[in-house]
Amino acid sequence: MDARSKGEVSLVDGAIDHAALLASVAAPDAGATVLFLGTTRRHTGDVVTERLEYEAHQPMAVRELARLRNEAVSRFSLAGCGIVHRLGVVGVGETSVAVATAAAHRREAFAAAEWVMEEIKRSVPIWKCDESAVGDRRWVHPEAVFDGGAAP
């Protein structure tokens, strides 16, 4: 990782302060900054979600997020990269994850934000429980065999 690059990595229990996250990646050499927010969606096909509840293996998730951040910085030559994931209950329309990337030019900033999100969904030990309006609870564990994301 470039020691000059900046950005917060954390798990939080309450609302995500995305302004603080943006501030954490601000850098004099950044000509482009992208902020991605993942939010709880009401409808997924026929399923109606009332709220999501997130759980993590916290020390491992923080370590994996920091590894992703550092890899994104070197892979996309970022000036800054920050990742905040919320745990606990996240209501419809609320933000569960925020990724901020800052680069010299927009192409790298956009590409890095998308890459970080793909990797979070692939390898970081965080899980969501989907709770419906009628009170059904379902932990989401995708069908494929999970091998740790074949992390290097």
């Binding site: 293996h57 390898s123 989401v140």
Partner: protein, 79 residues
């Protein structure tokens, strides 16, 4: 003794978040068999979960020391 931490749907199916197993050391694959024998209800999900020793993902051939802290990581769904 090895401490096995369970999460999310696996903890729910097992009815516990922590298993203590008598363990003098062995492979990750051996430990998987022990856990599946102890709690058959999680065997299917366990088969497609990763195993972490400490905070690092481990391969089935890796060694698990007798006093290890282990986590079963079922397929993830963050984001």
């Amino acid at each position: 003794m090895v401490v096995v931490n369970l999460f999310a749907g696996m903890a729910e199916s097992a009815g516990t978040r922590r298993l203590d197993l008598e363990w003098t050391g062995g492979s990750v694959a051996d430990l998987r068999r022990r856990i599946g024998d102890r709690i058959p209800a999680i065997a299917e999900l366990l088969a497609r979960s990763a195993v972490a020793v400490g905070t690092s993902y481990a391969a089935d051939t890796d060694h698990v020391p007798g006093d290890a802290d282990v986590a079963i990581i079922p397929p993830v769904s963050g984001g």
